[in-house]
């Protein structure tokens, strides 16, 4: 970017130097001078509607709105004069003239900008004796309510829905003092239900269906955690009272998501208290799962694992890990499988080819992985596959913001339509599954397309070759050699290219990075490498076997044939994921152990089910799809369930007593994270920054780029979750699934959904 010209001006007697074009309100904020405002919202279009930010400027006869006034050389601004104070007081008085002042029963009471401003700048009495306007509150959706009398018409909601979300579900009705915010369907919203309008509302006009009239904000404690649903790692603040999550929102904008949060992060928390939550271990007796004590259940698991291990050897045992469990749990699971049980039959549902990217980049990964901030800042983004609006909502938000704020150029290749294409300079819609072929054409000009697609590709190629710095995003459509094609294509761009593989779940990337893979150790260390096996073997107090294990899909096949006798599943639902829910499956298994929150399809078939805590109920770290690591905290105590960390640790002790492996000595996730930081490539991160609520980029990669790493066919695939689904977990998010929009997939044939989604 070109060097910004600097200008000097004075504000409240302080000399300020700032870049040309800076708004006075922003310059003041940086000086620690508060200029109050309602309608001004950084990143959204300017309104100058609320008139709270009026300031005095020398040589200007009228007060000026600091939110639209650009600081110029020599300008003298005063924000503390009597005239300015009077103006603020008057604006508050005008605002309150039709405001119901129902603060005692308003959700926003205690965290309301109007309350705060009135407290700080307002009059201590009312001079208004006329009858106020009134209208009843409106339910716009199960998640969004509108209370018109409280609305101060700052239009933040309308703007964030239009500019931020590109949904345009809100408008303004009537005019003058009768103006109201309108939903896009009569009395009803048809939208992404992101709830951004609720967060951004400075007053209690827009309230959340999950939270309204439940509590007062000062009765709650607040825990900022990465969201447990998709792979983007947005920070959501859990508002907790009496060990119950009452609300999730974007309280302080301190996460990598800035002010963004989607429906899942905001409304998808009530699974924690779902009636079907398993709160007690279950053991199959006489063909039925029955409640059991922790002692009995763990004893049963240990005893039968030991028996199978003795009778059939470690290769007869398989372990399937999770996309949701923490890095520390994945690390423990790795040790548990390879050293305690002695098997490399370890895998998880891979939703993006992170291993493919890491092995293709090798040491270059360190400066070649794009963060969420990189997506926003990029001059250009190439997006291949994946419907980011549905599957990676923060990525989509970053792209939209980049386009809006600094003209980011989006190029897309996709086998299906996506709303994000509205933002694109060039969007090439290829045949379903044709992304790979289109990419090959871009790299080699080999391949046949119809005339229209060819024309679009030619246009795309020319545009890309004129770019310098590009962020490349790709979904599960691109894996293995295609990733290498992509990297060689990017060598033709004139600048620095960064990559991001787009996966599905909260710790999809962490599972890969921490080596929940049959052929890779933590940090993508090759299993074939004896020194790496030795290194981890020494660390884990045993020997890492050298034979590569089965993929998750292969393990599931092996259960049918009886080649696998025991399957240990942690936080996964492979029967559903791999499409094997028919009754004859798992027939050859002697033991199926499942850690889960709910009786999933897989858990229903288990011999032992151990109730597990969610990420909102335990400590640890999660790695988002960009490789950004964040701490997750125990926001509430899981009453009954235990963390997977504890379960694996305790079980290792049980097994140790039976003579199988050595007990895991790491007592806490913190201790495990320390071991990870010291031993897993790319995870040597600053703990201090994480403790402060920040994120650190983990560039997990192998020592050298590998020319031919290829995940087995069918190992990497997206689960095609969309805005209102979240794998098995999503089914237990009652609020999330309560909206009209949640009832059909955006990619279905239903014209209904097309109408709400692509409008």
């Amino acid at each position: 970017m070109a060097e910004q010209k600097q200008i000097a001006f004075t504000i409240d007697g302080q000399q300020v130097t700032t870049s040309a074009g800076t708004l006075v309100i922003e310059a003041a904020k940086r000086q620690g001078i508060e200029v109050p405002s309602f309608c001004y919202y950084p990143g959204l279009s300017l309104q100058a509607a609320c008139r709270m930010c009026l300031v005095e400027v020398e040589k200007m006869p009228k007060l000026q709105t600091a939110c639209t006034l650009v600081a110029t050389e020599g300008m003298v601004v005063k924000t503390g004069t009597e005239q300015v104070h009077k103006a603020r007081k008057d604006m508050i008085e005008f605002l309150l003239s039709n405001h119901p002042l129902d603060c005692p029963v308003c959700d926003k009471g205690g965290e309301c900008e109007l309350q705060d401003m009135t407290f700080r700048y307002g009059l201590d009495k009312t001079r208004f004796v006329e009858e106020k306007l009134h209208s009843p509150e409106e339910k716009w959706s199960p998640l969004v309510y509108y209370d018109a009398p409280r609305c101060i018409l700052c239009f933040r909601c309308v703007r964030v829905c239009d500019e931020g979300m590109d949904v345009k579900a809100l408008g303004v009705g009537s005019r003058g003092v009768l103006s109201v915010i309108l939903p896009n369907e009569p009395g009803e919203l048809a939208c992404e239900e992101c709830g951004m309008c609720i967060d951004i509302c400075p007053v209690g006009a827009l309230t959340s269906g999950t939270y309204r009239y439940q509590t007062r904000p000062w009765e709650m404690t607040y825990v900022g955690n990465p969201c447990t649903h998709c792979s983007n790692g947005c920070k959501t603040t859990l508002s907790v009272r009496n060990n119950e999550i009452l609300r999730a929102n974007n309280r302080d904008h301190s996460g990598i998501n800035g002010e963004f949060l989607c429906a899942k992060g905001r409304f998808g928390f009530d699974f924690t208290t779902h009636a079907e939550r398993i709160r007690q271990p279950l053991v199959r007796r006489n063909g039925r799962l029955e409640p059991a004590s922790w002692e009995d259940a763990l004893e049963e698991v240990a005893r039968r694992l030991k028996q199978i291990h003795e009778a059939h050897g470690p290769a007869a045992i398989g372990v399937i890990g999770s996309n949701h469990t923490t890095n520390e749990e994945n690390y423990l699971l790795n040790r548990f499988a390879r050293v305690t049980l002695g098997t490399n039959n370890l895998d998880h549902h891979r939703t993006a080819d992170y291993a493919g990217l890491a092995t293709a980049l090798g040491p270059r990964a360190k400066d070649s992985l794009a963060t969420m901030a990189d997506v926003y800042n990029a001059p250009a983004v190439l997006l291949i596959g994946n419907d980011v609006t549905q599957q990676n909502p923060l990525v989509a938000w970053q792209i939209r913001a980049g386009v809006r704020h600094h003209g980011l150029r989006l190029y897309a290749i996709n086998g299906r339509p996506s709303k994000i294409h509205r933002q694109a300079k060039v969007a090439v819609e290829v045949a379903k599954g044709g992304e790979r072929v289109a990419l090959r054409w871009l790299a080699t000009e080999q391949g046949q397309f119809d005339a229209k697609t060819t024309e679009a590709l030619v246009q795309l190629k020319a545009a890309l070759e004129a770019e310098k710095d590009v962020v490349v995003l790709f979904g599960a459509e691109i894996q293995g050699s295609a990733i290498r094609d992509l990297i060689s294509l990017s060598a033709r761009f004139g600048g620095k290219t960064k990559f991001m593989a787009l996966g599905d779940y909260a710790n999809s990337r962490g599972a890969s990075d921490l080596g929940v893979l049959p052929d890779r150790l933590p940090g993508y260390a090759p299993l074939a490498d004896a020194s790496e096996r030795a290194r981890f073997g020494k660390l884990w107090g045993g020997e890492v076997p050298s034979t590569p294990g089965m993929t998750a899909r292969a393990m599931m096949e092996a259960t049918v044939a009886g080649k696998l006798k025991a399957l240990y599943v942690v936080g996964a639902n492979p029967l559903k994921t791999f499409g094997m829910a028919q009754p004859d499956r798992l027939a050859g298994l002697e033991l199926l152990v499942v850690h889960d929150m709910f009786l999933t399809e897989t858990a229903q078939r288990a011999d032992v089910v151990l109730p597990a805590a969610s990420t909102y109920e335990k400590d640890g770290t999660l790695t988002n799809t960009a490789g950004e690591v964040q701490l997750t905290h125990r926001g509430v105590d899981a009453q009954g369930p235990r963390s997977d960390f504890d379960l694996l640790r305790i079980l290792s002790h049980q097994l140790g007593m039976l003579g199988l492996g050595s007990p895991i000595r790491l007592r806490t996730p913190e201790a495990a994270f320390d071991e990870i930081r010291q031993n897993v490539a790319g995870y040597d991160l600053s703990h201090a920054n994480l403790l402060g609520g920040g994120s650190e980029v983990a560039a997990a990669s192998c020592k050298a780029a590998e020319p031919s790493y290829e995940a087995p066919a069918g190992a990497v695939f997206s689960s095609q979750d969309y805005l209102f689904t979240s794998g098995t977990l999503g089914r237990y998010c009652s609020r999330l699934t309560s909206t009209n929009e949640a009832k059909e997939t955006p990619w279905g044939s239903s014209p209904n959904i097309q109408s709400w989604w692509y409008r």
Partner: protein, 604 residues
């Protein structure tokens, strides 16, 4: 949806009229409403589909404009104006009479479906007050008998003859008048191109295209000291000179004919009797700034004027004054009309552009100014219709000669629409600097019925009011400003000694509260609060502390609102409280000395 053929043709034409489809939204809605009586879901969805809009975009635009409705009105929609000029001449009484006769109130539909009633804001018939519209037809100079006759004809299925031209526009020329832009008023068929050409028509354009460079045109307009006739009085030539020369963007000429300032009705006769003059002025303006497209934004209530303008535009195209290669000069200029749909705020230039883009008429943040970023984000000259109508005369007679008709810095002549309690309400063209006293006493024939003068609004209801002892002022921008008011739009409203000034303040505030767009807090809440207070005060519920409060609330709006509408509401109020405070104090006794009790009770 299958549309009736004429509407389908209209939609097709509208869809192709603008560089962005959405611009057709408001006209489409209004014409569809004319067809169906209201805007139902089906037609709105059809319009949304044709214009690639979401329904919410359609709904929110519709909701802004007071002429557009979601529910059916009667076959005859009766719109009685009670704004200031009409009020002074019995508009309230007339409205009550109509209510009684029809048995319905504001925005109600008679059970038969024949009639619906609406009390409306100024319809631009101030010199023919009191007035009403039946659908789009104007009926002026009314009284109860005339209204009864109109209803009898309507009920008999006949169409009563509407007022032929703006009442008060045609009269014997007075010696004081200097007809420049009104010189063709009264000539039979003056709206026809042949007549126009016979009387100097299009000679200025020929001169501008063949003998002058664009810079010379701007210079001539600068020399003329022609200042904006909409109200703000900004020098037109200077405005034109702000338009960037080096730009790859298209440029636009906009005529602001959204005439809605209460007391003002001069663009209406200008367009009705001399439409070609405006067209000629716009082509010359286009030539001056190298713009090739013009729009005339005409308030929706003036439908018959739009039809006259459209016919004149068609004539101009047919005769080579519009279109490609005008008069062989190589200069191209396209021109169309655009209908508003009921919003005073759209007279504000940036709100007008939003409206022309098919959106709610919210004003825009400035800078950037329209000359640089205007309609469709492109450089735009926007002038009042009267200002642009003056351009041909300026070119023809020369800037200096035109300037010399007026006073220094206030060139030429302008139209005054003088209404209220005078003997000869009407539209008169007078030189700038003409004494207000002579305007009232000589031109308008003095105060009606030999009464004493109490107050004058010099140029539309946004101006601070002048008291009887302030009328020795020259009517030019600077002189009127010097005594604390504004020349404004030339809508002079005269009030006699029997006028209740609290009622005047109340009625003026009703207007601004009705027209506040709702964008900014002080105007939105301030006008609504003041309206409620003034209603209560005039109705006998006033408290002593209300008088300073009314004054203070108005001052709290002043200078702090997003656009000038807040000032427009505040200024007359402040002046009334200041100059006629005694009348407020008199009301504290509980009754109004001027208005009959039933009129106060009947006021909304």
């Amino acid at each position: 949806m299958q549309l009736p053929a004429p509407l389908e043709a209209k939609f097709k034409e509208l869809a192709g009229r603008y560089p962005i489809k959405r611009s057709a939204l408001i006209p489409m809605m209004l014409y569809a409403q004319d067809q169906f009586g209201f805007l139902g879901d089906e037609i709105l969805e059809e319009i949304a589909k044709r214009l690639d809009l979401n329904m919410i975009q359609v709904e929110e635009t519709l909701a802004y404009y007071s002429m557009l409705r979601r529910k059916p009105a009667g076959r005859y929609h009766i719109q009685v104006c009670t704004n200031i000029s009409c009020m002074l001449r019995g508009g309230n009484e007339l409205y009550q009479h109509v209510q009684k006769r029809l048995g319905i109130g504001h925005k109600e539909v008679a059970p038969s479906g024949t009639f619906s009633l609406e009390e409306v804001e100024c319809i631009g018939a101030c010199t023919g007050a009191p007035a009403m519209q039946v659908n789009y037809d104007f009926y002026e100079d009314l009284d109860a008998d005339k209204v009864d006759a109109i209803f009898e004809q309507l009920q008999a299925g006949k169409k009563p003859k509407p007022s032929s031209v703006t009442a008060g526009a045609l009269h014997e020329r007075l010696p004081a008048e200097v007809p420049v832009i009104s010189k063709r008023f009264g000539i039979p068929n003056s709206n026809k191109i042949d007549v126009y050409r016979k009387h100097d028509g299009y000679r200025a354009l020929e001169k501008a295209l063949k003998e002058m460079t664009p810079d010379q045109i701007i210079d001539e307009v600068k020399k003329s000291n022609l200042r904006g006739r909409g109200g703000a009085g900004f020098p037109a030539g200077m405005k034109w000179s702000f338009v960037p020369k080096d730009t790859s963007k298209p440029k636009y000429i906009l005529a602001n004919a959204d005439e809605s300032e209460p007391g003002t009705c001069k663009d209406r006769p200008l367009m009705e009797m001399d439409p070609h003059q405006l067209i000629e002025g716009m082509v010359i303006a286009g030539r001056a700034v190298a713009a090739h497209q013009g729009y005339i934004y005409i308030r929706g209530e003036y439908r018959y004027i739009i039809d006259i303008m459209d016919a004149a535009i068609a004539e101009a195209y047919a005769n080579g004054y519009l279109g490609k290669n005008i008069l062989g000069s190589g200069f191209d200029f396209e021109l169309v009309t655009h209908t508003g749909a009921g919003a005073y705020e759209c007279g504000e230039e940036s709100a007008l552009m939003e409206s022309l883009e098919g959106k709610r008429g919210y004003p825009r943040i400035r800078p950037p100014f329209p000359a640089v970023v205007g309609l469709y984000g492109c450089p735009t000259v926007i002038n009042n219709a009267e200002t642009l109508s003056t351009v041909p005369a300026v070119i023809l007679m020369g800037g200096e000669a035109y300037a010399n008709l007026g006073t220094p810095k206030n060139g030429g002549t302008r139209l005054y629409s003088i209404s209220g309690h005078v003997n000869r309400p009407g539209i008169y063209e007078l030189p700038l600097g003409f004494p207000l006293r002579r305007l009232i006493e000589e031109v308008a024939g003095g105060v009606r019925g030999g009464k004493k003068l109490k107050a004058v609004i010099p140029g539309g209801s946004s101006c601070p009011l002048l008291s009887a002892d302030e009328i020795d002022v020259a009517m030019d921008y600077d002189s009127v400003a010097k005594i604390g008011s504004m020349l404004g739009s030339g809508g002079t409203v005269v009030m006699d000694e029997d006028t209740c000034m609290v009622d005047v303040a109340r009625r003026i505030m009703h207007f601004y509260a009705h027209e506040s767009c709702g964008w900014c807090i002080p105007c939105r809440e301030g006008t609504a609060w003041l309206r409620k207070m003034l209603d209560r005060f005039h109705g006998g519920g006033g408290r002593a502390e209300d008088i300073p409060l009314i004054d203070e609330l108005a001052k709290n709006m002043l200078g702090r609102t997003f656009c000038p509408l807040g000032d427009a509401a505040a200024l007359p109020t402040i002046s009334i409280v200041k100059k006629w405070r005694n009348e407020f104090e008199d009301h504290l006794a509980g009754k109004c000395a001027y208005n009959a009790a039933e009129m106060i009770a009947g006021a909304h």
